[in-house]
Symmetry: C2
Subunit: 211 residues, 2 copies
């Protein structure tokens, strides 16, 4: 594996390599973009994930092409990013985004049948903590129809910008509004299934989303 | 290039291939995840983009490793995804996400100096339409410090789920709340730069964000 693959070279102050910090960002997100090489070509696919220790888990239908490829033990790169604001400067050049992102390099392996349910719970917990305990657990048939891939995190780096505008000295005199437009992701009002029985309230895991 | 690389095989009804529909989704987003093969390994990096006709543009510092790699004319895969809701079923197995996503396969080429400013405007317009006209345009020095890569979209496919819960018949009797939790991305209140002159109001492009 090439060395220092994950070193942030551009604007090094924005890079972070502390696994604690990286993992705490990964644990706030659940959508990742998984890249692998197929017949010499790159393929990037979005999917949800969960993390436990130094492993990311992704899952899907047993017949999924992505997973069938990854279980062969191929190298993967995984990107997770969150944009938190538009950085609007007085010059086009100094426009930017505020964001946090993590790039992972690792290798996929198939999760054994005996560990599958535990791995699925890790993904479920990462999307909505506590939901797993509230719902019907997978049947053997459902587990058999599901494949889970574990991706050991071999190398990883984070990048973050969370600052104001930085313009050229001579541009501060321009009559241009400059500043930050924050971007927030919010959970909207829960929409009950049309067949939901009247007496059933929102469960605890869902209520926690709005706290 | 392998044929049918971009065919959605899992749950085919969720796939869409109409470029008009695909491009209209791409034009609502500005964050992409670019994958390429470097020394045999996959690398996926998040970056912003803009689209014009069948080309995606990405940019960065002239010395960026990503762009220096892509200008060699290597194959790239680009993933763009938006999660629009949590699909909370009565069984773990039927949990899902509502989302829209597009996967692009293409080839990167370096944008010539003479076309660079136009390409940068395309990216800028995609992030915040109208901003380009409000700010100081790039100087020659700034243009020289910037590299732009054009990625011709050779193959592309979209995938979308925008539905309610679909549970097994026997699960509808369970006392579990089921339904959709929508996820919205919103622009927060503009935060003026600390050095902004008092008399300068929000510009038109920014006001349009809140409409």
């Amino acid at each position: 594996m090439p060395e220092n693959k994950s070193k942030v070279k551009r604007i090094p102050k924005r890079g972070f390599y502390n696994r604690k910090e990286i993992y705490s960002f990964l644990d706030t997100q659940f959508l990742c973009h998984v890249g692998f090489v197929h017949k010499g070509y790159p393929v990037v696919i979005p999917t949800m994930y969960g993390r436990d220790k130094d492993v990311l888990y992704i899952h899907g239908a047993a017949i999924s092409r992505l997973l069938t490829e990854l279980e062969k033990g191929v190298a993967v790169s995984i990107s997770v990013a969150q944009v938190t604001g538009l950085v609007l400067a007085r010059s086009a050049f100094h426009h930017s985004l505020n964001y946090e992102s993590v790039v992972v390099f690792g290798t996929g392996t198939l999760v054994a049948d005996s560990d599958k349910e535990k791995a699925l719970k890790i993904i479920s917990d990462n999307v909505l903590k506590g939901r797993w305990e509230e719902v019907r657990k997978p049947s053997l048939k459902e587990l058999n129809a599901t494949k889970v891939i574990a991706i050991k995190i071999d190398e990883v780096s984070g990048k973050k910008r969370d600052e104001g505008v930085s313009d050229d000295k001579t541009d501060y005199d321009l009559d241009v509004w400059a500043g930050i437009i924050p971007i927030h992701e919010k959970y909207g009002k829960a929409i009950p299934d049309s067949q939901l029985k009247d007496s059933i309230p929102l469960s605890k895991s869902i209520k926690n989303l709005y706290k």
